[in-house]
């Protein structure tokens, strides 16, 4: 039977605040264990939470970024469970009245099409600490530095149909939250963690099958692989006439498989109730409008603008608007050389190619946007050919100066002086008598092919610096 997979994602996004959501302890990553866990984070008796204004602002920014309804009155709730990295015995979260309501999110797929993914809700909550199960004399070690770090949990509708769409959604989400500046989005540091809800149903039907939840997947690649192997596992079960068990599973990257996390499923009864230590959070329209006014141009808007303004394909516009830094860089190159399509091409092929090979980000590029624009301008004014430009770019990458400096120092300027070119063409004709005879004996159709040989020879003599258009014209004139 053909199965259709139904996927929903829950992303836990660490918000870029300097202090915790309910305490004044710092949130810096990588500090020595428990040096950033204050009395509130440790749940010392009598400690009370006080909500961080910036966490609220980040959540509202996100809500406006996906065109969602903002909860004018949102409420915090206690989610009760026992685990040593949660010292209070409950997590402060939001249940009935989240800060961000329903929204929509447009993603661009690799084939150039776009899809809209529904966002069910997004709510604020606190992170838990970390449990280390290594050898502590049969004990577990607890580090509460992360306890109380603000999280925004973003929940999608079951709108996603395959691994590629899931990854496209996560990449678009990453792009949005970094544009908004509400999170660094760094999956390797746990700033963006993903839970995957996945079920199968016979293709063409509408009812939802029993789902499994894969917890805490921490890279784009693992999300793709985890979904692929979970689809395979569930379809194997269903093909054999079995039933999928609703459970929490873990993706094991080394074995490339998912496995059940809990042997005996303790009922997920979190007994939510309103957090009595926090009052309802009221957000008025003035506040929302002030936040809206502070929003930058968002990735989707930029993508549409790049396509319209510069005539780029959806794919190219998507690549170039992926991060604010890259988009700014591209626009600076386009402004400097005056040709956006050339700029798009050079940024995507040469620059991103080199950056990827060197594992550098756009901010670390050794070639500035102004310098790359300067190089392209020399192609456009026929000072150098595209081929020579690639050589010049290599030298620029190695820090040997601007395009003009390198062209000057290495004498790479294209030869457009007709006298000099004519001498070269004459020499090539004199040196290749046999080919000249062959050319003159050939008909018009064959000549077009044969002339390439002479152009190549002239380029060789000129070390690639001859103006190809002028060479072609001279050859056509002289070979008669």
């Amino acid at each position: 039977m053909a199965w259709e997979s139904v996927i929903g994602l829950e992303v836990h996004l660490q918000l870029a605040t300097v202090s915790k959501i309910f305490s004044g302890a710092p949130t810096t990553f990588g500090a020595a264990p428990n040096t950033q866990a204050c009395a509130v984070d440790l749940a010392m008796p009598g400690m009370l939470p006080v909500l961080n204004a910036e966490a609220v602002r980040c959540a509202v920014k996100f809500g406006l970024g996906i065109g969602a309804q903002i909860g004018h009155r949102s409420v915090f709730d206690r989610k009760n469970y026992f685990y040593p990295d949660l010292p209070k015995g409950y997590q402060i979260s939001q249940f009935e009245a989240p800060i961000v309501g329903r929204g929509e999110f447009e993603i661009a797929l690799e084939d150039g099409s776009t899809r809209s993914i529904g966002i069910t809700r997004a709510h604020l909550e606190e992170d838990a600490g970390k449990s280390l199960h290594e050898d502590y004399h049969g004990c577990s070690g607890i580090d509460l530095n992360r306890a109380g770090t603000p999280l925004l949990e973003i929940v999608t509708d079951p709108d996603i149909r395959n691994a590629q769409e899931a990854v496209a959604y996560l990449k678009a989400l990453h792009s949005l939250v970094t544009y908004l500046g509400i999170s660094d989005g760094d999956m390797s540091q746990g700033s963006m963690r993903c839970d995957i809800n996945i079920s199968l149903r016979p293709a063409g039907t509408d009812t939802l099958g029993t789902r499994a939840e894969i917890k805490n997947v921490n890279s784009f690649r693992f999300v793709e692989k985890a979904i692929a192997c979970e689809i395979e596992r569930q379809s194997d079960i269903l093909e054999d006439g079995g039933e999928v068990v609703q459970e929490t599973r873990l993706y094991d990257a080394e074995r490339d498989e998912t496995r059940s996390m809990r042997s005996k499923e303790v009922a997920n009864d979190y007994r939510y109730f309103p957090e009595p230590d926090l009052l309802p959070v009221v957000i008025d329209d003035d506040y929302i409008e002030a936040v809206r006014a502070s929003l930058p141009e968002l990735p989707v808007e930029k993508r549409h603008r790049f396509a319209a303004q510069y005539g780029l394909s959806t794919y190219d516009a998507g690549v170039l608007s992926d991060s604010r830094e890259l988009a700014d860089y591209f626009e600076a190159v386009a402004a400097a050389c005056g040709d956006a399509k050339m700029a798009a091409n050079w940024v995507q092929v040469e620059l991103l190619g080199q950056l990827n090979r060197s594992e550098l980000g756009i901010a670390d590029s050794p070639v500035s946007a102004a310098d790359l624009g300067g190089l392209i301008a020399r192609i456009l004014d026929n000072s150098i050919s595209g081929k020579i430009a690639k050589q010049v770019f290599e030298h620029m990458w190695q820090g040997q100066g601007s395009a003009d400096e390198i062209i000057e120092a290495q004498g790479l300027k294209q030869v457009s002086d007709s006298g000099a070119l004519e001498a070269m063409v004459d020499q090539v004709i004199a040196d290749n008598g046999a080919q000249v005879e062959q050319y003159l004996a050939a008909d018009e159709g064959k000549r077009k092919k044969l002339i390439g040989f002479f152009v190549g020879q002239v380029m060789k003599v000129s070390k690639g610096q001859a103006n190809p258009k002028m060479v072609n014209e001279l050859l056509a004139k002289k070979l008669t």
Partner: protein, 95 residues
């Protein structure tokens, strides 16, 4: 609304409360009484009443995003039963 002994045991487990075997009957009966009172309250028509998240007629104040707490790990760990390498040690937990 009735509640049976099995449910009381489950709730006690979720809340990590130990109830002695000879007391569980009495606990069940008393909680059933409380639920009886809830049943009476449920009979009141509350259709026009907005759910109350907090009895105080006020809204949450926010604090500015600033670090105000210093590292006091030494003080906190001095009263912990077991610590090592800066970590709090607890009975082993594995998922």
């Amino acid at each position: 609304m009735a509640i049976d002994q099995h449910e009381i045991e489950k709730i006690a487990q979720l809340a990590r409360i130990r109830i002695a075997d000879d007391q569980i009957g009495e606990v069940t009966a008393r909680i059933a009484e409380i639920l009886g009172m809830v049943d009476r309250l449920q009979a009141v028509d509350t259709a026009a009443v907005e759910p109350m998240a907090n009895p105080l007629d006020d809204t949450q104040r926010l604090r500015p995003d600033a670090v105000t707490e210093e590292n006091r790990r030494e003080d906190f760990q001095a009263i912990a039963p077991a610590v090592e390498d800066g970590l709090y040690l607890v009975p082993r937990v594995i998922d």
